[in-house]
Symmetry: C2
Subunit: 456 residues, 2 copies
């Protein structure tokens, strides 16, 4: 038998707790502010949108949060997810580095998103919520929440960015197969959507607008709450099952990462793989380098400002301090739709400010090239988002080759590309270009950031 | 913790042998005949198309065929595949039956097809073959061989039925991402393709024509061989890893199936799950009922004739005795493309003649309804082909409910539906109909079967 390439954990090893990095932060998070009063928001301010259990997860500094058994029960459909040693890729690259990857594409929705969708659906179900609203771009998150809603018997309404709704109908079909209702945004179902359409009837939509619509519906109805697929602390918390499993699997492989690589859009899959390792470092353990890879066309960590900003376009959300390109910034239409967000998770942003993580940006064509190289070596075709992590890992492996160092690299392969074949077709046909954002628009968007008085 | 739902085997439990049911047949297989001489073909007759190792697997009666380590090495990317207890589906159906399913959608191509693609690529590689040709309809098989070819460094040329090539470009994009060349069939690259196009320049193609083209190319070149994704004995042999793993996993669940259900097109995923259990029964063990589920629009087992026929349209293949609708029969264009074949694997046909298996046919809309019900209960959206197995299993579970019997049902969920969302969109939109084949065309095709003298 050849050397081991796959590290599988028994079902009993699905983590029993999520890891909360807020317990180990050297400096606490800046408060979330109410945009009217500029005062820190309290749990009650968020109660119209989220069940109290999730609000408490947003702010707690407890290190371990127990994963409820009904959530673990559904995690068992695909968890523990495999960890692979990328031996064939190592050979192709001729690198002395050892490359490992955690593969989250084994979930029924094909990505890491169900890790939090299932948890959020559970806490809402327990709180008596009968309907969840959310937004989605290409549809990874919407289809994951639709999946979770089906299993818990919660109606799911998804506001999908209209351009994706029209151009990429297959994720929508998956949502509808799970029984969710999918509405192109901007829509006539909300006041905000109608206002947007009144100004521009053919508006293509944006994630920020779709969030506004989903929030508006949830805020109005007692039985309806809102669910977000990334950015928020509790979402990142739920994703830590990825890293907790990976830690145990690396131990099986008798290895510990020198470098951990993840792609960042809102920040949740990156947090999932990285936070448990960062936390172990903060508690005195080894400190791997942690590399966030973002798209050069939407570079919130590398080019954004660390400032208070809104999460949505209609400015209905509270203000959070994060790396942001400005809530009015519209990223160009590149293919990794899951990374097209103006902001970054406040927790990830905070860690960046504390120099606990690095960030790097790549263009989409070099990421697709990396994805193709990975697929031909390892057999798994990554999602366009995941290609950024692949690119980052390959660059680290090539650095090791140049430096003659046999470091251990771990990255998160957060999803498969089976729903993204149009992007691969365009890439193969040479039709993909590396869009640049408009520097002037970015400057405008950044100058429009809300002005927040410095806390005393 | 709830009751167990997933039965995982350690990587070391990937089978070390394939199971060859020819060792246990109460009556040997009818010989394969040369269409010119009507005499049994020998290994040399097949040597232009296949490497000798695969030809020997076609005819051997050895019970266990060792799986080469390089094949097991790649199997480790997704094998052992999980076995699930469908507890939520059982609850929805209110059945006293226990339903288990083996899930082959975890492979990088999303179906069971890589089980044989990897094996075939390996034996060809060892024999010095540098290029493989094959045919594909919707693309499940083509993408699986492209995947295997990429890992073994073999060029893969896929003749894809033109109507699928034009209408379903995403599987093609997957093949091309793996580095394969994909040609719409009928093509101008073969004599037979040119002859077909001369008669009808806009011919939409068929699996039979694509096979003829792939065989023509392979037969002409020393360095090129042909690979088939189903039907042949060695293909079915490779798929028995599915059933061998399932047997061990059922043991973990402390259960043994009373009924085994699989969908049948060419017969390979059905054989994979069923043969190891049938073999155990033939050697004195328990004898579960074995149910093959086929599409009512292409019902080779339930409406075909058990007779010698060609595997392709140009009549370049040898004659095999099988259940066939006639090699000139064109099934209507339903969505389970993997089940649109005029014939049935000779081994499966032989077992049917020996009354070791049953067969039943369902229409596509009732199969899609079953698939949606399954997805909302279990969270996994099946491929349209797999929906036939889901439908068959649900029918068995409902029979158990009517009869008050708590039988154990096992079925093979051979692939996910992520590449088949157009079919689900059409179904949800009410656009899918249950096509009927043309009875007159079937009668014609059957009357045109080659006449073969009865053996002495």
């Amino acid at each position: 038998m050849g050397d081991q390439i796959k590290y599988l954990l028994d079902e009993s090893r699905i983590p029993k707790h999520w890891y909360n990095i807020q317990a180990d932060l050297p400096k606490p998070m800046p408060p979330v502010l109410h945009p009217g009063t500029m005062k820190p928001v309290g749990p009650d301010d968020l109660a119209p949108l989220f069940p109290m259990a999730l609000i408490m997860q947003e702010v707690t500094t407890e290190r371990e949060i127990e994963i409820p058994e009904p959530v673990r029960d559904i995690y068992r459909v695909w968890r523990p997810a495999p960890l692979f040693r990328a031996r064939r890729l190592e050979q192709v690259l001729g690198t002395p580095a050892r490359i490992f990857y955690k593969y989250e594409g084994v979930s029924p929705a094909g990505s890491h998103k169900p890790n939090t969708a299932v948890a959020q659906a559970f806490y809402n179900k327990v709180a008596g919520v009968t309907r969840l609203t959310t937004e989605t771009g290409a549809g990874q998150w919407g289809s994951s929440l639709a999946f979770a809603g089906a299993l818990f018997g919660i109606d799911v309404t998804v506001f999908q960015v209209r351009v994706s709704y029209d151009q990429k109908p297959y994720r929508r079909a998956l949502m509808e197969s799970y029984g969710a209702r999918c509405i192109p945004s901007p829509s006539t179902e909300t006041e905000y959507g109608r206002a947007v359409l009144a100004k521009r009837p053919d508006h293509p939509g944006s994630l920020g607008i779709a969030i506004s619509e989903a929030v508006e519906i949830a805020a109005q109805r007692e039985d309806t709450k809102y669910a977000l697929g990334s950015v928020l602390n509790h979402v990142l918390l739920h994703q830590t099952v990825v890293g907790i499993e990976a830690m145990e699997q690396m131990q099986m492989a008798d290895a510990y990462p020198d470098v951990i690589v993840g792609c960042t859009g809102g920040g949740s899959n990156f947090a999932g793989i990285a936070f448990p390792f960062i936390g172990a470092g903060l508690r005195g353990g080894a400190k791997p380098r942690i590399v966030a890879v973002e798209p050069a066309a939407c570079p919130s960590l590398t080019r954004g400002k660390y400032a208070y900003d809104f999460g949505d376009t209609a400015h209905m959300t509270p203000l959070t301090k994060m790396h942001t390109l400005g809530s009015t910034f519209t990223p160009p239409g590149f293919h990794a739709g899951g990374l097209r967000y103006h902001g970054m998770a406040p927790l990830v942003s905070h860690l960046k400010e504390l120099d606990l993580i690095e960030a790097v940006a790549y263009h989409q064509t070099e990421c697709f090239a990396a994805g193709i190289q990975f697929a031909r070596a390892e057999g798994i075709l990554p999602a366009p988002e995941a290609n950024h992590a692949v690119k980052g890992a390959i660059e680290e492996a090539l650095r090791c080759k140049r430096e003659g160092r046999s470091e251990t690299i771990l990255f998160n392969l957060c999803g498969h590309g089976h729903f993204d074949m149009q992007a691969y077709m365009d890439y193969t046909a040479g039709k993909l270009t590396d869009q640049q954002y408009d520097e002037q628009e970015l400057a405008m968007a950044l100058s429009g950031l809300p002005s927040v008085p410095e806390p005393a």
